[in-house]
Symmetry: D2
Subunit: 340 residues, 4 copies
């Protein structure tokens, strides 16, 4: 059994990790931390865990080095790297759910976030998108788990990028459920500020745009515009991506390319022609569903969905753990989507 | 492996059964039926099942006798008994999710629904509330799975009834998510007729009242009033029950009684004093959570929650199957509640 | 034109007041205050007001005496009375939306809230439920606007109380939309903590219970139990009240009594037999809708709905203003319910 | 007073018309029709109207010619033109909320819908987007009220089109509340099929695309791609439009152009730089709110919101009536947006 620690266990990604890991056959959660709720049982904070998982929370700020085989860091951007420094060693695997280890080029990170205090670690870190970087993730000791929006967007056009088929702008119109904003108390996350309403936010300014752009730039020199919107629902991201192909292709040809590209990926599902994904059909699962349509003049629209807390965060983190450790990629991730 | 058939697989209870059973370690679903969608793959109707379960639906009206070890009947009240007659034999287990086999006294059934056409079967049927009737369910060949509201209500006051502690009226104020109304297209179930609204329905007339009343009458001669309400959400029932104790007791004493009564029941969780359940903490799980408070003058309020599609329907059906067959009661039912 | 001031204008009741008063034909809002947002235009905080009402917010803590004919106090319980003291004079009307002036018997207030610092004012204050106290409200200089839950509950059984028809316990099971919790940032009001969930809160402890109880006690010596629940929606309260009549009556007889009692009340609507209210049919309006059913053994269930921010707060406050000033009771309150 | 008839009064647009018109100072609704509910009082179908508007519904199929000064036709696409033929005369104004009179070029209509049976009427009809065609609407006898999506989209880029500033593709990513699908009972509109989910529909096929395209083509030869999505909420449309300007402009310059273009339009509100609209701030009102951002390389993103049932249907129809008749454009449309 792997001893697993969750650093910052009382946010939505921490709770999602616990929910998944308590049924992972090769894992035992031996450490859950929280500064806010230290000393309390997690099942008192979240009664859903009563009878299932009743560990007591210890302070995040304590030294937790050498306790676990795998650490999941569910801490805010900019603070995670300090904790990573104290935990890093050659025996355990660190999987960081913040943005701190997602950027190979730290100048982009520092322009988008703050000065990086662990550049030597960042250099060793792997961008944990298993569908693109599985070989690098195997055996990795530190993994930067991708952002939720970038996961939904990059998987949506990676097969086209890889083949160099795109041309012109890439417009990514993304919509996310509210859990993406975390469990912090801010006015914009109140029920009455979200329900029965819909809005864009951080237009032209969102920090996931550079994360997407840097992946695009590895393949093609194209400009990304990313606009996030807030959906009046708990979970799920749908990204609608508009672009042009260098040459026109039939929808079925591009779907074939996608199926071929992802044929060994257990968590990417390509829809049939004329079928488009619904967030409800990936909800609570680690799937990314993709549908698309091409037009005679070369335009293309691609629609992709994920659960922002699972494939967009905690599920992908477990997938990364499984790959890094060398166990079956789908362990702990077999719960089907839940509907309705 | 048990061969399992789901008769009427494309309603919400059918879908919930499939979602749970595809991870049940001792079950293989070998039959799914639908008259409406016959000939189509269930994964084309419900894309959530793509890659997980892609069986083709066969007509419900075909003869499916002798095919399966266990049949789940997810058919409308009043029509299920006809199918049960054709399927019943001494080798397989029938678990009926309609009301057709819930009433020992058919005169109550016939007053509430229609004339019963399989009275001899009804006589053999067990009311499938495992926390009350586990001994009878073991080895049973036909089980009437309880209604969702009755499950939430009966479990809420069974420990008091059993001890004969109640006195006076029992007022049950229940609130259910919309999935309880099924997947039929009716105006009252449209999004715009439910969202941002709340209403009572079938006031003094709901067919679950006699189902609750007949269980009460087995222990005490008390009058039940049951009022269902429609919540603007997908899943979950919360029942608030008001009554009086013959003599005043402290809250903690009654909680102790509840804990003792349900100490061997894996799916009933009794809250601590001052803690009350939230439907979100049983959602997608087979738990029933119960909290309560007593008052110095003998009044008592009890609050219970379930997921109407799981403990209120498909999960309880699987629990009944496990008990009837003699395998571990919790198999296939270990997914924790999903939040947020 | 009446000069009207709104003290604490940036909570949900303040916003609702502005929304209604900008179309009141005899009112001009000349003062809006906020400590948090002082110096900003209210239309920058709430862009819905762009082009309609763009006043600049001044500090609540400034001295606003003698500026307005009518002041609406939208301040927290316990702090409102201090402001009321500074504003009170014989020329203007104070309408307080907090609990500070709702209790004739200050010992109940002080047991429920905190020590009262303006008892002489409290003595002059009228409990502003116009359907019960219209004569006292006419010409009143200080009015304690009732709580949202008490408004829905008291109107539901006042005709019975007045005639002394009730007997036994009164169980009030109330459900409210989230806006009743205000615009404060607390975890329990976050979208992800409310949506797709339902829970009771403050069981046996809610401060609206004594407010209801003291009105009941004016007529009959009966015990109230009040249980509030949180609905996953923005606006609306539905209260389901269970009790017994001393003698059995037909539903139609009791409906007739209700119609007679409220025949001159423009904002109370009594449903026909067999029809029950839905919060969506009072939403955004000042109506209270009531339906009920009696049983042969004397039991009765009454269902009442209001918009918690309108009849439960700001609309009722305007109704009180209209009555106090002596203008038409419905001015500014003619917008029909909004659906869907 | 104008005698107004609503043909097909029991859908969501009919209900919205009644809600608005009962407070219109120059209008009396004298006719409401429905084949489904004929003979019933509209207040029995929609209890929100109790005490406010209790007319009896007469059959839509009766002859209603010469009864009213203004007729609003709230009938399905393709059937409205037949009714229009029977009602049309030189004394009354017909405002058709279907697509039947929106297309000057009937070949586009017939390619998108069905064969047109009243081409001579269609020739006289005006496309009722008052911000573009106010001169033509004045005195018009038959008006084709625009679709909800086209209203939100065309207003979003009309100032740019008019000046010929756009270049390249126009990608319109639109999201609508469920009321846009009407009150028909279809599985896709059920609460449990919409709530907590989000999906695109009619990708590349929606009939509002040609309606937008034909307006674009009046100014510039550009290709529109329109993708509608279904939001889990009742009301509101937000359209996010991506395109390129021929030459780069600063955001503030383009905002100034928008403000200038719409300076005499009472229902278009241009946001300040850095502010973007939220559907909740136009909800229940006739406003269209627009915000935008330009980029140094010429890309532009424009975000526009309306209430799909008001500015997207019934409110705009009343605005058209006011303009056609020559009364004040905002009569009956002064209710501010409702929040939360």
């Amino acid at each position: 059994m792997l001893n697993v620690g969750i650093i910052g266990a009382t946010g939505y990604t921490g709770v999602a990790l616990i929910s998944l890991l308590i049924n992972h056959p090769l894992v035992k959660i031996t450490l859950v931390t929280s500064n806010t709720y230290k000393g309390k049982r997690i099942s008192d904070i979240f009664p859903l865990f009563r009878g299932l998982f009743e560990e007591t929370l210890v302070p995040t700020d304590d030294d937790h080095g050498d306790k676990c085989d795998v650490y999941f860091l569910c801490l805010p951007h900019g603070t995670s790297m300090a904790t990573a420094k104290t935990l890093f060693n050659d025996k355990s695997v660190l999987i960081d759910l913040s943005a701190d280890f997602r950027f190979e080029d730290l100048s982009i990170y520092e322009k988008t976030y703050i000065k990086h205090i662990a550049p030597e670690l960042a250099k060793q870190a792997v961008f944990g998108l298993p569908e693109l970087y599985k070989d690098k993730i195997r055996g990795a000791k530190i993994i930067g788990n991708p952002g939720c929006y970038p996961t939904s967007a990059i998987l949506a056009f990676y097969p086209l990028l890889k083949e160099g088929l795109l041309s012109g702008d890439i417009f990514i119109d993304s919509k996310s459920g509210v859990s993406g904003a975390g469990r912090d108390t801010k006015i914009g996350s109140l029920f009455c500020e979200v329900s029965e309403g819909f809005r864009a936010y951080n237009v032209g300014l969102h920090r996931h745009e550079p994360e997407i752009q840097k992946e695009v730039n590895k393949y093609q020199d194209l400009q990304v515009m990313f606009t996030p919107h807030l959906l009046p629902m708990n979970r799920g991201i749908l990204s609608t991506t508009y672009s042009r192909l260098k040459n026109p292709y039939k929808t079925s040809d591009i779907l074939d390319l996608f199926k071929k590209t992802y044929k060994d990926e257990p968590f990417v599902r390509i829809m049939d022609e004329g079928v488009y994904p619904d967030t409800r059909f990936t909800r609570f699962s680690n799937f990314c569903d993709i549908g698309l349509k091409t037009f005679e003049d070369g335009r293309i629209v691609i629609i992709s969905t994920i659960d922002n807390l699972i494939k967009g965060a905690s599920g992908q983190a477990i997938q990364n753990m499984n790959v890094a450790i060398g166990i079956e990629e789908t362990l702990g991730l077999k719960t089907p989507p839940q509907y309705p």
